[in-house]
Symmetry: C2
Subunit: 408 residues, 2 copies
Amino acid sequence: MLQHHPRIGDGGTMEYRFTPRMERTPRSFIREILKVTERPEVISFAGGLPDPGCFDPAGIRDAAIGVLDEDGASALQYATTEGFLPLREWIAGRYKRRLGLSISPDEVLITNGSQQCLDLIGRIFLDRGDLCAIERPGYLGAIQAFSLFEPEFASVPLDDAGPEIEALERVVQAGARFFYGVPNSQNPSGITWSPERREAVADALEGTDTLIVEDDAYGELRFDGPAHAPLRSLAPERTLMTGSFSKVLAPGLRLGWIVAPAPVMHHIVTAKQASDLHSNIFAQQVAARYLATAPIDEHVAMITTVYRRHRDLMLALAADLFPEGVSWTRPDGGMFTWLTLPPGCSSLRLFDDAMKANVAILPGLPFYTDGGGDRTVRLNFSNASEEAIEEGMHRLARALAVQAKPAP
Amino acid sequence: MLQHHPRIGDGGTMEYRFTPRMERTPRSFIREILKVTERPEVISFAGGLPDPGCFDPAGIRDAAIGVLDEDGASALQYATTEGFLPLREWIAGRYKRRLGLSISPDEVLITNGSQQCLDLIGRIFLDRGDLCAIERPGYLGAIQAFSLFEPEFASVPLDDAGPEIEALERVVQAGARFFYGVPNSQNPSGITWSPERREAVADALEGTDTLIVEDDAYGELRFDGPAHAPLRSLAPERTLMTGSFSKVLAPGLRLGWIVAPAPVMHHIVTAKQASDLHSNIFAQQVAARYLATAPIDEHVAMITTVYRRHRDLMLALAADLFPEGVSWTRPDGGMFTWLTLPPGCSSLRLFDDAMKANVAILPGLPFYTDGGGDRTVRLNFSNASEEAIEEGMHRLARALAVQAKPAP
């Protein structure tokens, strides 16, 4: 054991000087809220967790055994920055089968969940003061990731069919580096861009320097009707597409990917290497082995069946129980619906009242880069059981009634 | 299958505008060289890979089975940003047992390998133009990670006992945000800071705003004599210490950690969350389960025995075979020795000559932030077998003889 020589002058006198970017990065609501949901008596509609009943630990276990028995050393050694080639080939193959999209495995890089894609995109495209366009409301995790690069945010309002094109044209004209959106079953709103709106977005950007960042976290979790064409198929040169195994396989593996044209991929590889050399190769090999043999279409169908039932139950209960004046979206996939409270109500007050009743919601405020959202609420329907949804919606309706009384 | 409508105007006309930081980030030599080493006929001393024979795939396999059988859902679900508490407790406990260091698990955050620590430190402390002090030669991965934040580098020359204190004092006076170093068996030089030099470094920084980043990737891989006191014990308030499971467990799991005082940890958590939410919880649980029962001291002793033998063999062959005027360090641990060629020689030319003879080395140039290093070479002794070291050193000696002929 070593002798220690703590310096007397060193204790408690240190002044840390952090970069300005850290002061501008919003501390996550979700983070604080995940802590709250650890209390077992709370029913949480606040987080964004999948239903753990939809995981396949036995299948993952068999794949892990296979990987370690067959060539364990290669699964434990350093690996390439781009990621495990068979996994990238599987991703490219699935785009082909599912959407008819032609993507080369060379255009795919494996990340630590799709959150890292947003970080890498920020690194290579956003400098301090650059204009960064994002949906309104916009995905909180993207706002956090991009904030570290200190851009100016410009928001493009969403209506029921997608981003408003006139607003998009204005921010493109102002020189936005990219427009970030979640065209399928958006987080937080549940809105899916219509086929026409996708065409209009691609038209609005054509001939400009503005890229599209197409976050497709929820494309596989579609409940109603066939998939729409991805932006990548409409504007392949200007679209960076991100994907994730978190929704269909398991978030704990932290495996996502980014699809990018070759000139962009070159820089993404450099940024990824400086960040963490490469993603967990053991997890990549386990996922590739699992996906090579598992009936993945059936697995996805099982998940969407469960989540569709959850959505239907939550929306039916909202219609039955919520006071007049409260409205909500009807998502065609994904994990979230989006409430709007009547004028005069406050989602922060609802959060407090709901927590007293042991039900957690996510106030909409952190999904706005320019203020507002104080009457909006995100509700997650993927994680809670049907029993918990039933009970939680009753609790929430009572909390809502405190503010949104039916007119006398 | 969807219809595609590729836009004619979109193909090949796109001009991508990348941030200035991407142009200043060095593309990795190591990356290019790892590609070269994939040719099976090449004996590589160029990379920094552990000996895969030192991995324990069977032990990892049993731990993976245990984790997935016992509570698979928790290993596959989203998890906290700080990391799996039992793993952070194990890390804190090992510092106590091994070095007598008192560290709270709250001061430990799990990262994707220790490379990510450097990225997180850059994010929270380096703004464009800030002064960043680093050893000369300095670890290439750190230079890459910090470069993304566009600092000015100031280098502090290493002698056999560590950083030169007068040079350090000058860069501290110039306002360096932190001084980054690898005090144990440095990458690339193999130099270990003496106990006296560690005290002198702590003295030089006392009362200033300059932090210490103590990269302890190789502390466990010590061949000769007891460990020296870490900087963290000498200047706890100003030291950020990074560690890694890559050297003692397996790099493929991408598990490292950072130890930081509470006010710094607050910002590290925010930056980590924006980067990728959290590290692979499956790998974290597997590692924690493995470490809870595996005889880790014996495992580390096995690895150090192997690497010590490799070092002894490589240095004995250098003494026998290398031309006069070539000198090298005698590392007391780690994975590298550092050659200096005689005046008039070139490490880039040696690289070419060596590759023709199917042996790979790493020229020293990318380890310098201010030019120089053209007569230095890093040799790795951990990855190649003893037979390969024997053969590779003969090949390298012949390549060396082309330039460094014994005086007639």
